[in-house]
């Protein structure tokens, strides 16, 4: 058999192995909880635009949600209430709506009276940055622009994830940090 065919087969096999290994590695990576927060731009349902990197100096809470997600409905009133308490203290909430039809998302926002900025993850480009596995997931960004923890499930007292008290405590800690 000519040497060039042997070399081509060898290169092809190696390329396929590397390709799949890389894919498995990326897919298996956990959601980030520290380091620089992946930057993104969110265009809200109201037409406003927020760029995460431009919010440096403020504490940012990024909440991934969807209207079809039942646990998101459970935590929505708490998030809205907390936003109202902290919005004048240098805390920004950003709601990122994940794979959700816009009419349903708008109905959800109206149903829960959500007033903090919310927008669709257009083209599903923000979710992969945070490697979210589902909704709800919430990420905390400190004033320095670094991630400062996350809650990979609904925020609530009996959810097995972050409790409401822990959420508030987290905001206070991040606000107190320089």
């Amino acid at each position: 058999m000519p040497r060039w065919i042997q070399a081509a087969v060898f290169v092809l096999v190696i390329a396929v192995i590397v390709f799949f290994a890389f894919g498995l590695r990326v897919r298996g990576e956990a959601q980030p909880s520290s380091g620089p927060a992946p930057d993104f731009t969110l265009k809200t349902f109201d037409g406003a635009t927020y760029r995460l990197s431009e919010l440096k100096g403020q504490v940012v809470v990024i909440n991934f949600w969807a209207s079809w997600c039942v646990p998101c409905r459970d935590e929505a009133p708490f998030l809205q209430k907390t936003w109202e308490q902290y919005k004048d203290r240098g805390v920004v909430f950003l709601g990122v709506d994940w794979v959700d039809p816009e009419p349903d998302a708008r109905a959800y926002i109206k149903e829960f009276g959500v007033t903090y900025p919310n927008g669709p993850d257009l083209g599903t480009v923000i979710a992969p940055l945070y490697r979210i596995k589902g909704v709800p997931e919430t990420y905390f960004v400190g004033k320095d622009g670094n991630l400062a923890g996350n809650s990979l499930g609904p925020i609530g007292d009996n959810t097995g994830y972050m409790t409401q008290a822990q959420f508030v405590q987290k905001l206070e800690t991040l606000l107190a940090a320089k």
Partner: protein, 158 residues
């Protein structure tokens, strides 16, 4: 009186038929559902990977199907609906990646594999044929001299 009534009924029937005739096919119930399912079959919701939208039982997929139906009712074409879903949710909603950029690998690699496989098979078979054609080398038979002499003698006597 009766004639006038018949005329009126006939006119109403004609108007009703005309209205039915101009009603677009996509606005009819069963056809609309079929069309919705046909399009849904080609789309995938990221919430439940590898499950086509038409058979996915999650609430997310139900909402997506409802959206497809609504867009069909608005007169949108299949291409417009698919383009909308790609714009909203990314290429991940498609059953196959669009043939552009890095995605080309997914289309080219199988073809390269087939060509290489065929080349390997061709060379292997050719080697077999060449070996078989050459045949086994003749065996070197050494006959002891006394037997050779005897055979020579017997042949002369014949």
């Amino acid at each position: 009186m009766r004639r006038r009534f018949l005329l009126m009924a006939f006119s109403l029937a004609m108007v009703a038929l005309a209205l039915l005739a101009v009603t677009p096919a996509h606005a009819q119930g069963p056809n609309l559902d079929d069309e919705t399912n046909r399009i849904a079959k080609t789309l995938y919701c990221p919430v439940c990977p590898n499950t086509p939208l038409d058979v996915c039982s999650t609430q997310a997929c139900a909402q997506w199907r409802a959206l497809i139906k609504e867009m069909l009712q608005q007169g949108k074409t299949e291409e417009q609906i698919r383009a909308y879903f790609v714009q909203q949710y990314g290429d991940v909603v498609l059953g196959a990646p669009p043939a552009q950029g890095f995605n080309w690998l997914a289309y080219i690699l199988p073809a390269i594999g087939i060509v290489l496989g065929a080349a390997i098979a061709w060379f292997t078979v050719r080697q077999w044929i060449v070996r078989r054609g050459e045949g086994a080398p003749p065996a070197q038979v050494t006959v002891p001299k006394e037997y050779a002499d005897r055979i020579e003698k017997d042949l002369k006597e014949l």
